[in-house]
């Protein structure tokens, strides 16, 4: 049982690696937007010092936010691949293999994490060039990568769930946009949650992106690990819920 799961899971991860080996255009083109946030928006907003970020420069503060926004976008639009595979016969064929269906879903979802990790390296490189100061602790850095990888799977599971309802690419694109922007702006990515109106603050506390940003920010920028365990637990709960929902609904996708 567990063996079947890991076999399917690792096949899906390997598939993603092989795809990236042949074509990385998407990763590069999706890096443009976060680079603008870091290189243009960050310094300008930072120069007016309107946002209290403690003793961390503003661009450094938003780097994890922009990073997570970008990896989350990749994960959420990963559902597009699933919609494409639904239109073609790939999903039908996968469902007829002995691979457990939930393993197919979780494997596909986590495969988006591979893209997210690639994206992370590009953005961190750009941030280094801009002059963002990272905490130089390899253990923290690796843990941050693991968190990014794992949470990407959760966000991709949302998109697989959406894909099982929205069966055309156009509809999926619309929903994708409508999902990602609120997640981003109603999170702690660009400003501390305490600056938001009360209602939004409540939303931010159930927004999984806030926890991911907080975890990554504490590991690579601030070094303040007080909330790290809370973040990790929240992300784990989010992932488990999303994996379950996406797996349960997956059969619908081919009907």
């Amino acid at each position: 049982m567990l063996k079947d799961f890991f076999r399917t899971f690792s096949s899906m991860i390997e598939l993603e690696f092989r795809r990236l080996k042949h074509d990385r255009t998407e990763i590069y083109s999706r890096a443009v937007q976060p680079i603008l946030w870091l290189a243009v928006y960050g310094p300008i907003m930072g120069s007016i010092r309107a946002i209290p970020t403690g003793n961390i420069p503003y661009t450094d503060f938003i780097t994890p936010g922009v990073l997570i926004q970008s990896t989350t976008f990749i994960s959420i639009f990963y559902g597009l691949t699933i919609v494409w595979e639904r239109e073609s016969g790939i999903l039908k064929k996968l469902l007829v293999t002995p691979a457990p269906r939930y393993a197919t879903v979780i494997g596909r979802a986590m495969a988006s994490g591979i893209r997210a990790i690639f994206q992370t390296f590009i953005i961190i490189l750009v941030a280094l060039i801009i002059g963002v100061k990272f905490i130089l602790n390899p253990f923290y850095f690796v843990l941050a990568l693991v968190i990014i990888f794992f949470s990407s799977g959760g966000f991709a599971a949302i998109s697989i769930l959406v894909a099982s309802f929205m069966k055309t690419r156009e509809r999926f694109m619309g929903i994708g946009q409508a999902l990602t922007m609120p997640l981003f702006f109603a999170s702690n990515a660009l400003y501390p949650v305490t600056m938001m109106p009360k209602a939004l603050q409540y939303f931010a506390t159930i927004n999984p992106m806030s926890y991911v940003v907080d975890a990554v920010r504490s590991l690579i920028i601030s070094g303040d690990l007080t909330n790290l365990w809370l973040d990790i637990v929240a992300i784990a709960i989010f992932n488990i819920i999303m994996f379950t929902l996406a797996s349960v609904n997956f059969k619908k996708i081919i009907e």
Partner: protein, 332 residues
Amino acid sequence: MEKAVDVRDVVKIFNKNFRALDGVSLEIESGSIFALLGPNGAGKTTLMRILTTQIGPSSGHAYVFGLDTVKEGSQVRKLISYVPQEMSVWTDISGYENLLIYSKIYGIPKEERNNIINGVLESMGLHDVSNRLVKTYSGGMIRRLEIACALLVRPKILFLDEPTIGLDPSARKVVWEKLKMFKKDYGTTIFFNTHYMDEAEIYSDLIAIINRGKIVTIGTSEELKHSVGGEILHFILSENGLHEDVLRELEGIEGIKDVVVSNSDVTFVVNDAEMILPHIMTFFNKKNIFVRRVSITKPTLDDVFLKYAGTRIDVSGRLSEVTHVRRMIRRG
């Protein structure tokens, strides 16, 4: 002998009112090639999706090698391979990589993987292009790669949904030659859907014709064609007309259903033209009647289809549509 496929009174209703399958029953012997022939929307794909455990029937039961497709779905999936009508390989990796990923999903042991992959590549004639990205393949090559993926596990039964749709005649022929070879080597049962009559006729052992969710007739292509009403033997004689007595004698020959004489033309309706022809020739010889010309006309599956379904299979519209879809998906 165990039945490869056993379908009993299967009904499938979509969206509460569309009966895609309306009481289908079917038995297929293990080791045979079975063709489900029917026009677009007849229910071919729905039946195949039930047999491959993708969807359950609304009522009735379907068994594959004695296993219930609903209750024992995961067992069934271990025995079968399936090639859907739509394209089902990843186009942004190479052919070899597609096979590698599938072999891992199927859990083929590491030490056998390479051999098996090379084996199916060889048997599908794809060895030379295995390292090219699939998006550079032709339609026929993609189809062969899809079949190669399905053959990795040496299934007990292979389900093919319109295996040669959108392929040119020579590519179709290649695909079938490879399939026949594989069947010969491993005794795999093959179940395929098609709307090409010639394909059903040439390659299958048993044909069922499906129309509007119902199986209207089933048999070998010979049986089906005979059931239309017989074959036509047409003679042109050197003299005009036949004597009344001669005609009566002719009608007495076993196997002749009807004789129509008009001037020097004599037309027989018979069960089996090849069998009866020598008898008639001998008879004419004995009577010193000289035959100038003989022709045999046999009913086609199209006539069979016309008889049982009331319409002809319309191929043209459907074909261009599917080719278009496949192209679109490739560009995807």
